[in-house]
């Protein structure tokens, strides 16, 4: 498997096929005398910003601390939770229960539902 081509930046869907973000980062574990192991997928604004520029990442993190939704840390998914890597990366979690959708949920509750026809 080509990790960058086939996994990084791909769509993540939960066990109900709900879109829950994309693979913003891949965390590996370096081990003595053994090949590095793919440990987690990460999804979240700070992880993404880090790739563009470290300063942008610090700025995003500061903004999130100030105004962000709760639990806005990048969300980690252990590699063992991955069910299938095809067009999308399918993981065995329920998106609504994770912090990956913190902003989606915040917008839904605070903004969208308050607009007529939004609830």
């Amino acid at each position: 498997m080509d990790v960058i081509r086939d996994v990084l930046d791909n769509q993540i869907v939960d066990r109900n096929q709900r879109k829950m973000g994309k693979v913003d980062g891949i965390v590996i574990e370096l081990r003595d005398g053994q090949p590095p192991r793919l440990a987690y997928l990460e999804t979240g604004a700070t992880t993404l910003a880090q790739r563009l520029h470290p300063r942008l990442a610090r700025w995003v993190a500061a903004v999130e601390r100030q105004w962000g939704a709760k639990n806005s840390e990048p969300y980690r998914i252990p590699w063992s939770k991955i069910r299938n890597i095809g067009i999308d990366v399918e993981v065995d979690v329920d998106a609504e229960q994770t912090s990956a959708l913190a902003y989606e949920q915040w917008l839904r509750e605070q903004v969208i539902k308050r607009i007529p026809g939004g609830s």
Partner: protein
């Protein structure tokens, strides 16, 4: 056990033991071993990008058109030949001559 962000390794320049530039990391190959996925090798150099886009026909003809006659600076580095103890400056623990070049491999694939 040290953790490392793979996406931040992308595009990092790899140096050999003498401190010369080898190329940039563009792709990482992994394989399933028993329960876990492990990294086998890192692909370095321009040809790695073209391969990542798997657009050999268009890519190579375009590169030829732009004047790149050979893609001889692209290598595959086995996981145990790359020292990642300083992720900002990854370096080889072997000489370039021991590495396989990607372009040769690809020509073999094509034929």
């Amino acid at each position: 056990m040290a953790e490392l962000h793979l996406e931040l390794l992308l595009g990092k320049c790899v140096f050999d033991a003498l401190g010369d530039r080898v190329g940039r990391i563009e792709e990482v190959r992994a394989e399933q071993q028993e329960d876990s996925w492990v990294i086998l090798e890192y692909l370095i150099g321009v040809a790695a990008i073209v391969e990542r886009l798997s657009a050999w026909n268009l890519g190579t003809s375009l590169l030829h058109f732009l004047g790149a006659r050979k893609l001889n600076k692209s290598y595959r580095v086995p996981w145990n030949k790359l020292d990642l103890s300083n992720p900002d400056r990854p370096h080889l623990i072997c000489s370039i001559d021991e590495l396989k070049e990607i372009s040769q491999q690809l020509e073999a694939d094509e034929s």
